[in-house]
């Protein structure tokens, strides 16, 4: 078998700029080696900071902003591309090795038509003439399942959806007929129902064109569907390397085992109670006049339980949270808390009402003032609601930090000096400081790595068991819902299409949307993608 790509002992360094200290040289990839055969797909998987994107880009002999390849060899067809000069590298990039970025929306130039951008590399490299390239682009649009392949290329990036844009970007990478494509988390930013289409299209396209690929992702279930081999990375080191089957079914290393088992159920469902702490009663809501985002939404949340609100982006689930907090007064219906209706606008609520409903945000970065220390961030609700000051406040902040498993050593840190998971924990501490009855969690784990997210979920559940907190948990991730929910509301286009206890919502008979949603969630087993596609095809054939 011919080795298309061989990476030997790859070392990559960068310069770090720790605040208040002189710049330091750090190593971010410590000698990684692997090989990739023609037409095969290798999945690179790991948490953020594992070096997976950096290694992927090294296959193009490229180091992103300040990153330097400091050692090792990258052999493409036996030739060390790291040793090539500028023009040699340029000849390879975009012709023999192509790249598909995570955010297609940011990677396309909005001022040019899609087709012109798709054929550009092939034409510039002289692989084919412009008309030939256009023909190939049309063929690829067809293979990738894009609507109306003949005219698709004449559209501009803003005229197509996110999933279509990602497929167009794959077409752009495939157009010059490269030997290797580097996919850098191509489906991470997409909804689950869209992700499955893009995944299937990518799989079909690389099979049909016999292109080899490096597929970078943090989602093991996704990579299991598309690759032949998997390499698990952590902190710039290789943890485990093997076939998909071996990694999924019999992982050797503890870390891989953690990754595989990350989506287990953490909590059994609590019995439904009739008296609810929070009740949303036939709420309609609209932004700026006529654009209605919520239609007749009614859900309720008993004390000490978790209500998961699940749906894809644009389904109105975050808007529901804005209605409850009073940021967006409903145009009809009301929010009933502890048996009494809350004033629709937060400005009209009293301190006590505000205190009892706290909020957790998806991006912990922007949810904390970067100029305040942990002491100020967590301490402010203590001063504001309970009048704590001085030593008493410090003692309570330290107590809260213990409660979120961080310890008082963090008390004088700024948010920039915390990791993603720690930031979210500090946000939890800030919410807890107000001693609320209910916390609205707006996708608090979706920006985090799976293992870190699991830690946060466990913390939330422990706090719930200890203090009878209630959560309204907004998410698009069914695995998270399974793990923590007592009851579930499925939202689609601003309506609640299904609401009830977890066991009922997640068992048949399903309505159409819930069925699609549940079937679109990648499962961590081989052949899942084919199965889903087959049943879908049969379904559409039956219509």
């Amino acid at each position: 078998m011919a080795e298309l790509l061989e990476v030997r002992d790859l070392k990559i360094g960068a310069t770090a700029y720790p605040p208040g200290e002189p710049p330091q040289d750090i190593t971010i990839v410590h000698g990684v080696s692997f090989t990739l055969q023609k037409g095969k797909v290798l999945g690179l998987i790991g948490e953020s900071g594992a070096g997976k994107s950096t290694i992927g880009l090294a296959a193009l002999a490229y180091g992103r902003g300040g990153v330097r390849i400091t050692g090792g060899e990258v052999l493409l067809d036996g030739e060390d591309i790291l040793a090539l000069g500028g023009s040699g590298i340029r000849d390879i990039r975009g012709r023999r090795v192509c790249y598909v970025a995570q955010s297609a929306a940011a990677a396309f130039n909005p001022a040019h038509r899609l087709g012109d951008q798709v054929v550009e590399a092939a034409v510039r490299h002289g692989v084919m003439s412009r008309s030939e390239a256009w023909e190939r682009a049309k063929y690829l649009f067809g293979v990738l399942g894009l609507p109306d392949p003949d005219s698709f290329g004449r559209r501009y990036p803003h005229q197509v959806s996110g999933g279509q844009l990602q497929r167009a970007m794959t077409a752009m990478a495939l157009c010059p007929g490269p030997e290797l494509i580097v996919f850098d988390e191509p489906t991470t930013a997409l909804d689950v129902t869209t992700q499955i289409d893009v995944l299937a299209a990518i799989k079909r396209a690389i099979e049909e064109t016999h292109t080899a690929a490096l597929y970078i992702t943090h989602d093991l279930a996704v990579v299991a569907q598309i690759s032949d081999d998997i390499m698990v990375l952590r902190h710039g080191n290789m943890v485990e390397y093997g076939s998909v089957q071996q990694i999924i079914e019999e992982p050797k290393e503890d870390y891989t085992r953690d990754l595989v088992s990350v989506t287990q159920t953490l909590k059994d469902e609590a019995p439904d109670q009739s008296d609810s702490l929070l009740r949303i009663d036939s709420v309609d809501a609209a932004y700026s006049g006529d654009f209605k985002v919520l239609h007749d939404v009614s859900v309720h949340l008993p004390r000490g339980q978790t209500l998961a609100v699940v749906g894809e982006s644009g389904s109105g689930k975050s808007t529901l949270a804005r209605v409850i907090t009073g940021l967006l007064p409903p145009s009809r219906g009301e929010v009933i808390f502890k048996g009494a209706a809350l004033p629709p606008e937060f400005a009209n609520r009293n301190k006590e009402q505000l205190r009892q409903v706290q909020m957790l945000y998806q991006m912990a970065d922007t949810a904390m003032n970067p100029r305040q220390t942990v002491r100020d961030i967590v301490g402010r609700p203590l001063t504001f609601y309970f009048g704590l000051r001085g030593a008493e406040k410090t003692r309570r902040v330290a107590e809260l930090l213990e409660q979120i498993e961080m310890g008082k050593g963090f008390i004088d840190r700024y948010p920039a000096e915390l990791s993603g998971g720690q930031k979210q924990r500090v946000c939890i501490a800030r919410a807890l400081a107000a001693e609320p009855e209910v916390i609205l969690c707006d996708e608090p784990t979706s920006a985090l790595d799976p293992l870190v997210a699991k830690g946060i979920l466990k913390l939330l559940l422990r706090l719930q068991a200890e203090t009878q907190l209630s959560y309204l948990f907004i998410t698009h991730d069914i695995a998270t819902v399974r793990a923590i929910a007592d009851s579930i509301a499925v939202m689609y286009q601003g309506r609640v299409v299904r609401f009830g206890p977890k066991s009922k919502v997640l068992s048949p008979p399903f309505d159409d949307y819930t069925d699609l949603l549940l079937k679109s969630v990648p499962e961590m087993r081989l052949g899942w993608l084919e199965e889903v596609l087959t049943t879908r095809r049969m379904g559409s054939a039956g219509h």
Binding site: Y17, P19, G20, P23, T325, G326, L327, F346, R349, K351, L354, R355, V357, M359, Y361, M363, T366, A367, M368, N369, P370, R371, Q372, R380, P381, F384, Y414, P415, A416, E417, R430, A434
Partner: protein, 275 residues
Amino acid sequence: MKWRAIPLSAWIGIVGLAIAIFCAVFAPLIAPYGEREVVGDIWLPMGGDFVLGTDNLGRDLLSRLIYGAQTTIFVALAATVLSFSLGVMLSFTAAVVGGWTDQGLSRINDLMMSIPTLIFALIVLAVLPQELWILILVMAVLDSTRVFRLGRAVAVDVTVMEFVEAARLRGEGRMWIIFREILPNTLSPLLAEFGLRFAFAVLFLSTLSFLGLGIQPPEADWGGIVKDNKDGIIFGIPAALIPGAAIAGLAICVNLVVDWLLKRTSSLKGGRGDG
């Protein structure tokens, strides 16, 4: 804070400012001659009894410069601080409250800015009595329109951040949101602007003095000294260039210090040192 962490450029700025402020505070003690005292022939060369020579009336230039530092720095600093207080308060209020308040304040600001500053100042100063505090107030109000534009632009960006939303949902008052949540996050551009505005204030004061509506002779200020001696340039006499250089030096020193403060505050956010 460690002394050693201060870069060389900041040291230059600090030393320059320290000298200027020292001169301003202790002017009567260190000036070799009086402010208005005619001590020799006009436009005497440098050296001898007069380190920098004499001016167009035969007054000692060094003494005039030292006394001039007093008025120049005091007026420019007071005007800049005042204009920032005013501009920041109004612009942040506009950004936080939004709606009609924002529209009203912003349009009034546009109206003020549509009249050329110098002409506006000349008219207002010609009508009002010639007193120092009025001069400072007029300079501050006119300058605050620039601060308002910048302040509103940066504050609007910060206002939509989730931590501000979190503070609002906590029930915090407007003053807390403006001064504790927004102000610390807009300090970088505001400090940069402060350095620039201070330099402009010195120049503006000099312009006004030059036109006869700023500091009134025989009181010394750096712009005024330039004006007094400008005719000497034709005869190759450098008396006008020295106060000019002092203005430039002061502006540079202020900016060196501000640049360093900027780096210190931006590194708190965890940004790269050169932010």
